[in-house]
Structure formats: C-alpha cells, structure tokens
Symmetry: D2
Subunit: 135 residues, 4 copies
Amino acid sequence: MIGRTHVHQTTVRFGRTDAAGVIYFAHALDLAHEAYESLLEEAGFPLEVFLRPQSVRLPIIRSEADFRLPMRTGDRLRIEITVSHIGAKSFTTSSRILLAKEGVVAAQVTLYHCCVYPDGHAATDIPEWLRDALS
Amino acid sequence: MIGRTHVHQTTVRFGRTDAAGVIYFAHALDLAHEAYESLLEEAGFPLEVFLRPQSVRLPIIRSEADFRLPMRTGDRLRIEITVSHIGAKSFTTSSRILLAKEGVVAAQVTLYHCCVYPDGHAATDIPEWLRDALS
Amino acid sequence: MIGRTHVHQTTVRFGRTDAAGVIYFAHALDLAHEAYESLLEEAGFPLEVFLRPQSVRLPIIRSEADFRLPMRTGDRLRIEITVSHIGAKSFTTSSRILLAKEGVVAAQVTLYHCCVYPDGHAATDIPEWLRDALS
Amino acid sequence: MIGRTHVHQTTVRFGRTDAAGVIYFAHALDLAHEAYESLLEEAGFPLEVFLRPQSVRLPIIRSEADFRLPMRTGDRLRIEITVSHIGAKSFTTSSRILLAKEGVVAAQVTLYHCCVYPDGHAATDIPEWLRDALS
C-alpha cells in the first residue's frame, strides 16, 4: 500500500439494484470509480483535470472485482480506497466496499489506470505532480 | 407545494456523463430519484420499506424533465425536492437541480408516483401514515 | 406525425431492472434514446455525426414518459418511433414501447431535441439536410 | 473451452459512453452480461428462469476485464462468449468484445457465476439440466 486510505461514504440507491433485489454487479464497479474520483479530489487533482484537451488521460485498462455479500437499497456503504501500486506509466487503486452498519466487506474492486498522451494513443510517464499527489 | 423543501447534495460522477461531455439526460432523472429516496429517508419511510412483500408499492407512472444547462464531471449539485401534490392514490415530487457553485437551475424533474396494492396490479389509497409523512 | 414510423427491436436486459423486478424508470428513457439513435442511423446521419467538433449538436431539452405496464428481464420490446414535430430549431421524437408478445404499449416516451451551434451555447436552425432526413 | 462459442451482436449506444468520448468501463461489463443473457436464451434457460422464487440463483462472484481499444458511439460490436469452465458449484463465461468492422478485440471480460440455493445464502451444485445446457 502506497498512500493512506481515503474513505468515501455513499448509499445504495434503487437505480443501482437489479431484479435479484441487490446491487447489479457492474454498478459495484461504478461505486469504486466514484471512490476513485473522490480520492483524486482530495489529492487536489479532480478527474475533470484529466478531461481537458491538453492533459494526459487516465483510462482504465483492467478491472477486477470480488463480490461477497449482497448490497441492498438503502444500505450505507463505507468505501476504503488506496493507491496500492504506482509504476512508471500506470497505477492501481484498491477499494474495499463495506456495509457500514455491519462493518463487513461486501465487495473488493481493483482498478488499473494507465497514463496516456493527450491524443490517447500511447502510454506515457505519470507526471511528477500526479505521482506526488497519489503517494 | 405541500411539504417543505428537502435538500439533497451530490456530485456529477464521470459514469453519468456521455460523449458530449455532459450528464446523460436519463441520468438526470436518476439524480431526481436519488433526491426522492433521500426525502423518503428523512420522512422516516425509506424506499426499502415499499419493497417488502406485504407493503404497498410506489411505482413511477410518469416523468417530466427540462434540461437547461449542462452538468459536467465534478460539478457539485444542490437538489431541492418537494412533494408538490398529493391525491388519493398518487403523489408528485418536483426537483430543482442546481449547480451549487453558480446557484442556477440546470434541470427540473417531476416524478408522478402511484400507490398500488402489494401484488402491484391496481391503484389503492395512500396510507394515512405515508400521507402524513409526505405532507 | 411527420416521418414514417421506424421500428427498433430490443430485449429487456437484467442490468436495466431494479429491485422491484421491473425495468427502472430512467432506463425506459434510455430505450427511447436507443430507438432515436437507430432512427438517425436509418436516416443516414447517425448520432456520432453530431459529436464531431464542427457539427451542430442535438441536446435533449425535455423528456416526458408515461409508464403503463411493467417490463421484465427477457421481455422482447418493439419500439415504434416517429419524428412527431419539426420546428425551426428543434424537433420531437415520440416512442411507443410495446411488449412484442402481447402487442400492448408498456410505455410512451417523448424527447425534445434542440439544434445548437458546435460551441453548444445557442440554438440554431436545423440544417436542411437534417430536416430532409427526419421528414 | 467447454461449450461452443455464442455470438452476440450489438451497437455502442450513446448512453454507455462517458465524457472521455468512449464506452464507460463498467458498461463494457454490462455488454458481457448481455452476451451471457443471450447465451442462456440460446441454451434454453433464459436468465428470468433463475429469478423465479423456487429456482437456484446464479449471482456473479467475480469479474475481470481488460480494456484494449476505445469503443465509441455507433461502433458495431461482435461479442464472442463461451463457457470456459464448469465446476461443481460455479462456472465461468469468457467474452471477447470485438469491433465488428475492424475485427479486433477491444475488451475481454470474464465473469464467475456461482450457483446458490433459492434463499441465496449458500452455494449448491449446478443442476444437471443446467450443466448439460451450458456444455
């Protein structure tokens, strides 16, 4: 683990559930991305910075998710996210999604982010200021 | 306007934007539904109450939305929602979605909720306790 | 009704349902937008044309939806969409979403599209070629 | 690889893109789930069978996804999905998502499905009829 843990709190909303009565699996990945956006904000470089025309981009190149417990409408969630690895051109964020009331892990999501040139075609080094902010 | 205004604060997340760079129109309706869920929580009857087997259901039977200003990744939103009408078997919630920083309305969403029997087939009277909670 | 009816066939997928076991209301608007994209393709001007830097844009400025019958996972849908109105700077698409097997209308969605300059700030006349294609 | 390859064709719709102009990563997992639903239909046991009160359930317990190429609004996709593993109580589906025009893989998604009792609490053996259908 590289940086300290950032905590993002949210609630399972109805629109994210499916006909099985629990959160739809792909929406759990959404939650991890929201925690990542929240982490970037706290680090001083919100995601919108990386959407500007001249900025490097940070596409997701891989995701892994483990689902352990169902999450239902109204459940309070506590998402603990850390930057678990920083390489030359990519970094990894790991999120533990806990049911806040029970304090147990409901899902675990790992996202692999690559740094690419503004034109979006080739990987490039993570800028120093971003590396510092994530560490 | 029947009840007082409930305020729900949120942030435009990347997953809700589209290739035009702004919030995807259907996701703005999502935000209004989240504000509605937040209002129900404050009223003491969170949405999950109405998902229980024996409970009346509250399906949406109509929605209207006006989009005035683009909402972008990272924009802080202030959603002001009120129960604008209560009939015998239905009620209406009206949401003004404001860009928090500028204090201007970006979208306005009206949702029409019907009260139906647990089996979901026919409209029924809104129970007194729900009527009281919404007023 | 201005143009002829365009038919778009699709299936209710699990990810579009919610914990009430039916399609989540905002996702029904999604379906109408997909029918609209399909109509634009047939008209020879797919939506991606309007995402190019120099092109006029076609943001949605209003939506209305009526929900009559539940749509469930696996239900085949037949969406009948028409351009129901063309003004100088805006046009309207109306979609009837039918359960294909029963041949009954489950929802009706109206989308109001505005034509704006490439910079996205002010309404402009619908170009002749687009007007012709939509009529 | 256990069963033969099932092909599911679809188009990238605008609502699935994000402000970076390409498909939002979590929506690519959605596409793989749609291909899985299509495979179940072809196998004679559509997903809705597993939503019935007395049926075993098939929750997703893990997902992995690799993103190689951007997918944009209007892109035709060809998803090749196979049941890549069947264990006693779980099975795996692997999807290759190809840009149909170029014939190149844009993403690869693996979903791990577990078979659980109707009450949803413990894993159980995959029924013979389902095992046969998936093989």
